[in-house]
Amino acid sequence: MTELGVLSQLLEIALALLLAPLLSAWVNQWRAWLQNKSAPGLLQQYRTLHKLFHKESVIAEHASRLFRSAPYIIFGCMALASAIVPTLSTDLPLSPAADAIALVGLFAVARVFISLAAMDVGTSFGTLAARREMLVGFLAEPALLMVLFSASLISKSTSLTTIVETLAQRDLAIYPSLALAGVAFSMVSLAENARVPVDNPTTHLELTMIHEALILEYSGRHLALLEWAASLKLFAYSCIGLALFFPWGVAEADAPLALLLAVPVLILKLAIGGALLALLETLSAKMRIFRVPEFLATAFLLAVIGMLVNILVGG
C-alpha cells in the first residue's frame, strides 16, 4: 500500500459521494431535454438533499429500530461499493476487498435491509414494493454475477482490480463475450437502479412503484440518506460498467499524473454514459411488472451465452 494509493482511495470516495447526486441530476436533465421539458438545474439534487437534511424526520409509531438504522446501513453499503470499484486507479488499499462476488453481496445486503425496512412499518405499499424489489433482485443478482464472471473468465480472476488491469492493458481486441455481457449488464443496471422500463423513478402512482414505494415512509434525513444512496448506487453501477467495458484511462500503481488525468476522463465517460441512459429511458416504455422476470431472464441468458461464447471461441 503506497501513500499514493491511500490518496487515490480517499479521492475516489470523495469523488463518489460528491459526484453521485450530480450524475443523477445530469441524467434527469438529459431526460427532461429529450422529452422537450424544461429541466431542473444540475444542482437540484444537492438542494433536495440539503433541504431534506434540515427537515425533521417523522417516523411511524410502530417502526422498530431496524427502520431507523436501515438508511445508514444502506448508505454505508453503497458508499463502500463505490469505494471498491476501481474507477480512478487500480492501486487502492481496499482493492483486496474488491471481489466481484463481494460486490454483488454488498448490493444484496442493501436490498435486504431496504426491503425489511419497507415491511417494518406494515403499510401495504411498502410490503408490495418489498416483494417486487426481491423479485427484481433475485433475478438481477445472478445476471450481474454472470456478467462479472464473463469478464473474469478473460482475466482469470474475480478480483475487480485484476479484471480492470487485464482489460485496460490488452491490445485492441474484440471480445464477443464482452459484447454480450455488456448488453446484459445494461439491462441489469436498468432494473437495479429502478429505471424505465422496469421501474419509473418519476412516477406518482403508488401501484406501479418499486423503489419509490420502498422509501415512501421515510422523511427528513433518513430520506436524504436513501436518496443519496440511490444516487451512489447508480454511480457505482456506472463505474462498474465503465471499468468492465471501457477501462481506458484508469490509473495504475505509482502513476500520479495518470491519477490526475483519470478524474476528467472519468467525468467525461460518466457524462456520456448518463446521457445515453437518459436516451435509453426515453426510448422505452415501462413494462408490466409481470414482464420484468422475462426482461431479467433475458439479461441472465445473454450473460450466460457470453460465457459460453468465451469458452467456444476463446475470448
Partner: protein, 219 residues
Amino acid sequence: MTTITGQLINLLAAILLMLAFAMISQRRILSLIHLFTAQGAILSAATVLVGYATQQPHLYLSAGITVVLKVILIPLLLHRVINRLEVRWDVETLINIPTTMIIGIALVIFAFDLALPISKLSASIARGTLGIALACVLLSFMMMITRSKAVPQVIGFLSMENGLFFAATSATYGMPMIVELGIALDVLVGILILGVFLFNIREQFDSLDISHLEKLKED
C-alpha cells in the same frame, strides 16, 4: 489484420446468436421482421469479412445475394404481407418466454458441445463460429415449434436458413457457387409460396393461428 478480422467475425457471430435469442423472446411480429432484417445484414457483413480475410471473391457475391434477398426482398415481402393481413401484433407464445430462454440456453450448450471438437479440426478463420451457427439453427427451430401463428413460423424458417448459411460460410468459406444459387432460389420460391399460403389460410380459417390447423390428426 487477420486477428482483428477474426475477432470481428466472432463478434458478428455473437451478435447473430443474440439476435436469435431476441427473436425467440419477441412477441411482436413487426419487431421479428426487423430482427430478421438485422440478422441478414449481420450475416452479409460476416460473409464479406470472411471473404476479405480469405481472399475468396465468390463470398462477396454470396454476401450480395444475401443483402438483396434477406435484407431487402424478403423483409419487404413480409412487411407487405403483414400490412395486407393486418397482423402486426402477435401476442402469446405456446411456452412462456423465460422457459423458452432456459431451453434456449440448453440448446446453445448442446450445440457448442457438438461443435467444439469439430471446429478444432477446421482450418477456417471462423471455425469457432460453427457452434454459434448450429445454435442459431436450433434456436430458430425451437422458435418455429413455440409459435402458434403462421408468420412467426415463417420467420423462424427463414432465420434457420440464415443460420445454415452462416454455418456454410464459417465452416467451409461457403458452398460451391451453383449450390448456393440453388439454395437462394429455393428460399425465394419457398417464401413466395408461403406468402400465398398465408393469404389462403387466412381466407379459409379467418385467422392465422396455426392452432386452427389441427383437424388432421390421429384419433
